[in-house]
């Protein structure tokens, strides 16, 4: 019996203790008519057999040289990150409800919160949410709770926010009587059209979402946007890429006041691509908004001897205490991913993170320069970019993508579905894991696809 340690003697003795004739008797309270017959599942596999099966399955996955970002980024993950994160004591523990028996996890979470606060230049961070998109949805809900002056429940949501994030926000807040107002982008620069914002000046706006970097890889005018929010009584929600923050002005320093909430996708911090998850979402805020923050929080305190220690805190915000009136329904979050991210950030440090960011940036610059030199390719936006950018070819984007895939390259993300107005546009990304040779290979392939 896989994973069940009972011997026949054990079962006999246990049943005798219970005074029942069989295990089956323990299910007597279940109405007989509800009982199902044998399930139609495949027979049990031995570990040796499932290992062979899964090793056959991975043969059906195809390794491709990755030039795709669009919300999930291939960064190099040092071996130490998962060697330690996978340790049984982290892997097989649960939410640290018993603080004294969970100081390992609790201290990691406290350090994580500290690092994220440092990276975003915000006051506090929670202990994680599910992923980038849900962190934005939670930020929108938090903004509504926080902004007591606003009654409109109107959220300005730029079109430069990842379309997948926008659809998740729609799903999650859809039943909350909020209004999501789309902000257009400047087709020349690829940034939020600041002029379009003027329409809303003076109106009751609950929050403004400011993506940095935006979905096109382009850098937004974060100071102006934050100042606009402050001037109009709107909560400024920064949606940020944590690797980019090693290089870019952090949300806490945007504009005159800084953003109110910073959130985003934590995957770039040491989490494998893994087909889309598990990743983790992060969320930071100013101290003033702390009690509206969703998710777990770890605090430093002292024990009975005055020795420092860590514990879950401010649980009155959470579902298991406040139930229907909690700040969120989140319970299980992404603890193990955050453990990996903490170790990743500790290993890279400020200098390492800066170099990763700079290398990504320079690689993508190099790629775009190479592409721009090809006849039939043009850069779509003029705004400065971080580590993603958009180009357009005179051939269908799908053909380019297929042609690159044939050569073992994952060529980027086609924008036509979400932004038909951009034509045959492809969003590409070259992180620090791409070499100059990789980049030249990409450029050569695109050139030859356009020639043929």
């Amino acid at each position: 019996m896989p994973f069940i340690p009972h011997t026949e003697d054990d079962v006999r003795e246990m049943l005798a203790t219970l005074g029942v004739p069989s295990i089956e008797a323990l299910f007597d309270e279940i109405p007989a008519e509800l009982r199902c017959g044998e399930l139609d599942l495949p027979p049990a596999l031995k570990e040796m057999e499932i290992a062979r099966l899964m090793r056959a399955r991975i043969q059906e996955n195809r390794p491709l040289l990755c030039f795709t970002g669009a919300g999930a980024y291939e960064h190099y993950i040092p071996a130490a990150v998962w060697a330690i994160t996978s340790r049984g004591e982290f892997y097989s523990a649960y939410t640290p409800y018993q603080a004294e028996a969970s100081q390992g996890t609790l201290q990691v979470l406290y350090e994580y919160q500290s690092m994220m606060a440092g990276l975003t230049a915000m006051d506090v961070s929670n202990a994680s949410l599910y992923d980038g998109a849900t962190s934005l949805a939670e930020a929108v809900l938090m903004a509504v709770r926080t902004n007591r002056k606003s009654r409109s429940r109107r959220i300005l949501m730029p079109k430069t926010v990842h379309p997948f994030y926008r659809r998740v926000v729609r799903t999650i807040v859809g039943s909350q009587a909020l209004e999501l107002i789309e902000l257009p982008y400047d087709t020349e620069t690829g940034r939020i059209d600041l002029a379009s914002l003027e329409v809303h000046s003076g109106a009751d706006i609950t929050a403004l979402v400011i993506p940095q970097v935006n979905f096109f890889g382009v850098l937004e005018a974060v100071d102006e946007l934050t100042d606009w929010a402050a001037a109009n009584g709107a909560i400024a929600i920064a949606l940020v890429n944590p690797i980019a923050l090693a290089l870019l002005k952090p949300p806490g320093e945007w504009g005159k006041t800084g953003a109110d909430i910073a959130c985003g996708e934590g995957q770039p911090l040491g989490i494998p691509l893994s087909g889309g998850g598990p990743y983790f979402g992060f969320m930071c805020c100013r101290k003033a908004h702390l009690h509206q923050l969703p998710g777990r929080l770890v605090g430093r305190t002292v024990d009975a001897d005055g020795k420092p220690g860590f514990t879950l805190t401010l649980q009155a915000r959470e579902q298991h205490i406040r139930r229907g009136r909690a700040t969120s329904n989140i319970c299980t979050n992404q603890g193990l991913m955050v453990t990996a991210a903490t170790i990743y950030m500790a290993l890279l440090g400020p200098e390492g993170l800066r170099r990763v960011a700079l290398k990504c940036h320079r690689n993508t610059l190099s790629l775009m320069n190479g592409l721009a030199a090809i006849d039939g390719v043009e850069r779509v936006f003029s705004g400065p970019f971080f580590h993603e950018a958009v180009y357009r070819t005179r051939k269908p984007a799908r053909e380019i993508m297929d042609g690159l895939a044939e050569q073992g390259i994952l060529g980027g993300y086609e924008l036509a579905r979400d932004y038909p107005e951009l034509g045959e546009a492809i969003l590409v990304c070259a992180t620090e894991t791409r070499t100059q040779e990789d980049i030249e290979l990409y450029v050569r392939r695109v050139a030859s696809l356009l020639e043929s």
């Binding site: 003795e13 246990m14 219970l18 323990l26 299910f27 279940i30 109405p31 509800l34 009982r35 199902c36 399930l39 599942l41 495949p42 099966l53 899964m54 043969q59 996955n61 491709l64 795709t68 330690i84 049984g88 097989s92 523990a93 939410t95 018993q98 969970s102 506090v124 961070s125 994680s128 599910y130 849900t134 997948f164 998740v168 859809g174 909350q176 009587a177 850098l219 100071d223 870019l248 996708e265 494998p272 893994s274 087909g275 598990p278 605090g299 305190t301 001897d305 220690g309 299980t332 979050n333 193990l336 500790a346 440090g349 200098e351 170099r355 700079l358 290398k359 940036h361 971080f386 895939a405």
Partner: protein, 482 residues
């Protein structure tokens, strides 16, 4: 000592730093960061030593018995981790699943099908990131169902008073009012109270079965009838599926929509608080509303269903395809159990719970529902002890830690005073249960002879009892350099 305390300016894990790019960014100066982020500057050995030692301060399944009720803390097979983290799975970009991740999709598709069979539902979506998100998805599907029928008066979700906090929280996140339904003295829902509560405003009811009281809700069919007759739908919170897997199926009990906690029943690791995965299942009524993506099979190719073919879907709840790595672990686990194995999970988790309950009763503990069989967990109440000796459930919990056992869940469900919710799971042996019963008996004796020992516990852990009140009063949530 914090990792920040080990930091020294200029120290670094050099092998981890990419080479200097040697050039500055082509980014306007006003968008650049001026001060470095306050991250620690430490060596690779600092990092390895610091976090390795921290890990040793945790209790975990791999090191201790962890009978945390309602959390199903059972053994997480190492092979699930090994196989789910094969580089070919890890390196697949989420946007390349169809193009380059057919092996991954094959596993996900089969997992969907197996979960359908296990739950008796018509369709399953794997996308939700955890149980609570599954609940939200379920609530949103209930909403969408009524909305599509134009049944707009249904603004209320019923929740038993013993329910997980996530149930009411998810219901309100889904835009509903929550109304509690009382539990009867036998641990079943009070049917009369339910009859009173339902009406044209009822969108549905959220139930866990076995309930959080550790007993099987015997009137589940009657509940289904009452709610369905009133036009509401039944939501199944799968947190306790471990107790009945292969024995009873939510679909057969009359539930319309369910979620599962893969990190409970299907043994994916809890990870110090996640990641989990919360697939949802629905019967035919709700099929059109399932969240996306859903994996479909066309001949020998797998693809992801989109809004184009599922126009009534409630949409996406996560950025990409959900916690794929968790789903792969669950897939491996279920394949290893197979049809016989899954039913045995229910049998032996139930056997363990009832046996341990019996041993504890013999040792003098008071069960919350003496007249009932336990499902895979059960409740002990210490209210007598609290009254007579001023020893609380919390004191018991802390003292258990000294004996090298993780504490059960305490103070949940809220309606049982001074309760311990104990879930041994099927992967623990009789020897472990016997030892736990002995330890509990020893603590009970201490409670009568040496209450200070309990009230000051724990004594042998890295820290003594922590000041949680102080932590909340003066929140210190982030290290700040002096």
């Amino acid at each position: 000592m914090l990792i920040f305390d080990r930091s020294r300016t200029g120290r670094a894990a050099h092998a981890q730093l990419p080479r200097e790019a040697g050039e500055s960014p082509v980014i306007p100066d006003h968008l650049l960061r001026k001060r470095r982020p306050a991250l620690p500057e430490v060596s690779e050995l600092d990092v390895v030593r610091h976090y390795t030692r921290l890990s040793q301060q945790n209790y975990s399944i791999d090191t201790q018995f962890y009978p945390l009720g309602s959390c199903t803390m059972k053994y997480n097979p190492k092979v699930c981790h090994e196989l789910a983290t094969l580089p070919e799975f890890l390196n697949t970009h989420p946007l390349a699943l169809e193009r380059a991740g057919q092996g991954t999709l094959a596993c996900l598709y089969e997992l969907q099908e197996m979960l359908r069979e296990i739950t008796g539902m018509a369709g399953v979506s794997l996308a939700c990131a955890a149980g609570a998100q599954g609940e939200l998805a379920g609530v949103l599907m209930i909403r969408a169902y009524h909305a599509l029928r134009g049944d707009s008066a249904r603004t209320e979700i019923l929740v038993p008073d013993a329910a997980h906090g996530t149930n009411p929280a998810s219901a309100s996140m889904g835009g509903f009012q929550v109304r509690e339904v009382a539990t009867g003295p036998d641990g079943n829902v009070d049917l009369a109270a339910l009859e009173q509560a339902v009406g044209p405003q009822t969108a549905g009811i959220m139930l866990t079965n076995p309930s959080t009281l550790g007993v099987f809700e015997q009137h589940v069919q009657a509940i289904a009838d009452i709610v369905h007759k009133a036009g509401g739908l039944l939501y199944y919170d799968g947190a306790n599926l471990n107790a009945i897997a292969g024995k009873v199926r939510p679909g057969d009990m009359g539930f319309d929509v369910i979620h599962l906690n893969l990190h409970k029943t299907f043994s994916t690791p809890h990870g110090g608080g996640g990641p989990g995965a919360g697939p949802v299942g629905v019967n035919d009524k709700l099929l059109p509303f399932l969240p996306l993506p859903i994996v479909a099979k066309d001949g020998s190719r797998y693809r992801m269903l989109t809004e184009a073919v599922r126009p009534h879907s409630i949409g996406h709840l996560v950025t990409f395809a959900g916690n794929v790595g968790v789903l792969l672990r669950a897939y491996v686990y279920i394949r290893m159990l197979g049809r016989e194995g899954l039913e045995r999970v229910a049998e032996f988790s139930t056997l363990n719970a009832n046996y341990l309950l019996k041993k504890l009763v013999e040792a003098g503990f008071e069960p919350a529902f003496p007249q009932r069989l336990a499902a895979h967990e059960f409740i002990i109440t210490l209210k007598r002890l609290a009254k007579e000796r001023h020893v609380t459930a919390l004191d018991f919990a802390k003292r258990l830690l000294d004996y090298g056992v993780h504490a059960p869940t305490v103070y949940f469900p809220l309606l049982i005073p001074e309760c311990l919710l104990i879930e041994p799971t099927e992967t623990e042996s009789k020897d472990t249960l016997d030892r736990f019963a002995e330890v509990m008996a020893a603590i009970l004796k201490e409670a009568e002879t040496d209450t200070d020992r309990l009230k000051n516990a724990p004594h042998s852990l890295p820290v003594r009892r922590l000041d949680e009140v102080g932590a909340a009063r003066r929140p210190d949530l982030a290290y700040t350099p002096e």
